[in-house]
């Protein structure tokens, strides 16, 4: 196993983690602050990808595509919040799960009505279509762009949440929303803001994933599951938890897939390794989550109260 390959795989894991972070950041706030399980987050990701692919297909401008994805999902998120989710904040998690599950079915089908069943095309912008030489291995520059965007977003969120007044209110809302509301803060507005930003981040993730993944109805569902795994592993309600959770899940998943079958081959018979290696690799993140939950039910980086 060469060092450059290991390094490239680490980078791959990092990049998947960053993409997952974009998804988890919004969801963790919605869950933490509004205590609302929002399964439509995956659908917003899908819509972001569709908006981006459509605009990119007609204008060939990645900037316009980005604008469409972010603004489009922001708007869609606000509408969903107003029409459906805001009515469910006071109710049990179960009904939020039920209603948002219904919305997933609905939005997937809407995508199918508008864009058809088959996947649609979106390419990497020309400036990022090349590869960068990484100690002898070619590495796509677009993946570096994903990492850069994710880190910038992470940094921006950190600054907003820890250094501004809005951020303070959001943090306060996460630990005790009733108290914040009693102090005269317009919690409704904060909710809408957080939900909108979360939706826009999902849209951004969709935009970045558009050229890598096939843009088609239902593309958000597997990502949604991964995002939930990240949240539960990292701890719900904190950006920090989402960030580290996403990186851990991304790296464990990638490294597991890359090296576990080879490692097993050293220990056991080749045919057994070939059968068991990929099987274990594909459940590795679930195993990780189960272990984390069994040891620390609150996740690795829970919100600190009080």
């Amino acid at each position: 196993m060469s060092t450059s390959l290991f390094f490239a795989q680490l980078l791959n894991g990092f990049q998947l983690g960053v993409l997952l972070f974009l998804m988890s950041a919004g969801l963790t706030l919605v869950l933490g602050i509004m205590n609302c399980v929002n399964l439509t987050h995956g659908s917003l990701f899908m819509m972001g990808a569709y908006f981006a692919a459509t605009v990119y297909g007609t204008t060939h401008s990645f900037a316009l595509a980005a604008l469409a994805a972010i603004a489009g999902t922001l708007l869609l998120g606000l509408v969903l919040e107003r029409v459906v989710l805001a009515r469910l904040y006071a109710r049990d998690h179960l009904y939020q799960v039920l209603a948002t599950f219904g919305l997933i079915l609905f939005l997937n089908e809407v995508a199918r009505i508008i864009w058809g069943q088959s996947p649609i095309f979106m390419n990497v912008p020309d400036a990022l279509s090349g590869t960068i030489d990484l100690l002898g291995l070619p590495y796509p520059s677009y993946r570096f762009a994903i990492i850069a965007v994710g880190l910038c977003v992470g940094l921006a969120l950190y600054v907003v949440i820890h250094r501004t007044r809005v951020g303070m209110l959001i943090r306060a809302g996460a630990s005790d929303s009733a108290m914040v509301s009693a102090l005269g803060v317009n919690i409704k507005l904060i909710n809408a803001l957080v939900f909108g930003v979360g939706a826009a981040l999902a849209g951004l993730a969709g935009l970045m994933a558009g050229p890598i993944l096939s843009v088609q109805p239902g593309m958000g569902d597997p990502i949604l599951i991964l995002t939930l795994v990240v949240l539960v592993t990292g701890g719900i309600g904190s950006i920090r938890g989402a960030f580290y959770g996403a990186l851990i899940v991304g790296v464990v998943d990638t490294i597991g897939r890359a090296f576990l079958p080879t490692l097993l081959r050293e220990v056991v018979d080749r045919s057994i390794a070939q059968a068991a290696g990929p099987a274990i690799a594909s459940i590795l993140i679930y195993l990780l989550m189960a272990v984390v939950l069994a040891i620390r039910p609150e996740g690795l980086f829970p919100v600190k109260h009080g």
Binding site: S2, S4, L5, A8, Q9, N12, G13, Q15, L16, R112, Q117, S118, P119, I120, F121, N123, V124, S129, G130, T131, L137, P138, Y139, P140, Y142, R143, A209, P211, I212, L213, S214, V215, Q216, P217, G218, M219, P222, I223, T254, I255, R257, A258, P261, Q274, G277, P278, A279, A281, S282
Partner: protein
């Protein structure tokens, strides 16, 4: 003359509502079960579109008998598929069921259908047990046996003289079957065999391994969405220019619009391609493009071929499909009209035909399509037909 013609058409149209009008002219009911919703839905839709095109060209008839097609969505779930089959047989009394895009649904429904002595015309890849020991006189695979996809690429790799290959497929039965099918013909050294998750969206880890292994070529089996993701990421990693990509189930009519020029140069293999040169195929591609405004996929061709097979067999028994031995014999004779030239069945009711290799390239109109570059397997018989006890 005009009056009787009109009566026949009217009967075909209103028969569903008024079963008492004229029993003799009741349209022949054909059940169509396929995956029409969800992620795998585009395959089922393509098969359906191809099937209906043939019926439309025949003026609503197959074998000179008016037909009524009853469509059922199996949602990619075997239990929903069995339920749909039961509904078609017990409620609608169909004697022919066709379609079936998903192999898990196929495995679930073939027994309940064939046990009731209803004819099942599979329009998509036939799973190996059904071509071998579990073959049935009531089951006809009007498309191909799944392994052919991999075998033709294995033969192609041998013909090209590749010496060192990396094989990659999802970690499930079809993926493993593809690997063994490939190695049935390619017996050279394999640098690595990689298995990926079945719902895995990102292949960066595997692609990095391929880049590090520096093989002569890569063989990949990735059906549907997985293939789109894999080809894009392979191309973005710059490997498509240096390491040829041989594929099964990756590039075809429904994935090419999502891949476009990123897939240029990818090699694939099938029993048919849009440029397959015979009168039936050329006419089919033309009519399909006119009607649906897209290049037909091989799935659409399979649907069309299933209809042509039924057209020929129903015609031979003059519409009397209730005479099961006669209809069975008629189906077994295949069809003189087929997108592959002629459709000829092996003892296990799987076609014997040529397999082509094609490259993703621009067609005469500048669209990204498939260009046939060779025929590695001629009159190919699947590997399982000897296990089938039918003669």
């Amino acid at each position: 003359m005009v009056a009787t013609g009109f009566k026949a058409i009217a009967a075909a149209v209103v028969m569903g509502c008024l079963p008492l009008v004229a029993q003799a002219q009741a349209p022949l009911k054909i059940g169509f079960i396929s995956t029409l919703s969800g992620q795998a839905g585009s395959l089922g839709q393509d098969i359906y579109d191809g099937f209906m095109l043939a019926i439309e060209q025949n003026g609503g008839k197959l074998g000179n008998v008016p037909v009524q097609v009853l469509k059922e969505d199996d949602q990619f779930k075997p239990d929903v598929g069995t339920q749909a089959a039961q509904k078609l047989i017990e409620k609608e009394n169909v004697s022919i069921i066709t379609g079936v895009a998903a192999s898990n649904v196929m495995m679930a429904i073939y027994r309940p259908i064939t046990e009731k002595q209803v004819f099942l015309i599979g329009s998509n890849g036939g799973p190996s047990p059904l071509a071998g020991a579990q073959c049935s006189p009531y089951l006809f695979i009007a498309s191909w046996q799944v392994d052919g996809l991999a075998e033709v690429m294995g033969k192609y790799a041998v013909d090209k003289g590749y010496k060192k290959l990396v094989l990659i497929a999802p970690n499930y039965q079809a993926g493993k079957d593809a690997m063994s099918g490939f190695k049935r013909f390619y017996t050279g050294p394999v640098a690595d065999e990689l298995y990926t998750g079945l719902t895995q969206p990102d292949f960066s880890a595997e692609i990095a391994q391929i880049a590090a292994a520096k093989p002569d070529a890569v063989y990949a089996f990735f059906p549907g969405t997985l293939g789109v993701n894999f080809v894009r990421q392979y191309q973005q990693a710059g490997l498509l220019k240096t390491v040829p990509l041989l594929t099964s189930g990756v590039v075809y009519g429904t994935t090419l619009p999502a891949l476009k020029e990123t897939a240029l140069g990818v090699i694939g293999g099938q029993f048919w391609a849009p440029d397959t040169n015979n009168p039936v195929s050329l006419q089919f591609v033309d009519a399909f493009e006119k009607k649906y405004n897209r290049i037909p996929s091989n799935f659409a061709a399979q649907g069309y071929d299933s209809a042509l097979l039924l057209d020929s067999a129903i015609g031979k028994v003059k519409g009397n499909v209730a005479d099961k031995p006669a209809f069975m014999a008629a189906l077994k004779q295949g069809s003189a009209k087929s997108v592959r030239g002629t459709l000829k069945f092996n003892n296990n009711h799987v076609p014997i035909n040529d397999w082509y290799v094609f490259e993703v390239a621009r067609d005469a109109k500048g669209r990204v399509s498939l260009k046939t570059i060779g025929t590695p397997l001629k009159n190919h018989q699947d590997a399982y037909h000897t296990q089938c006890t039918m003669s």
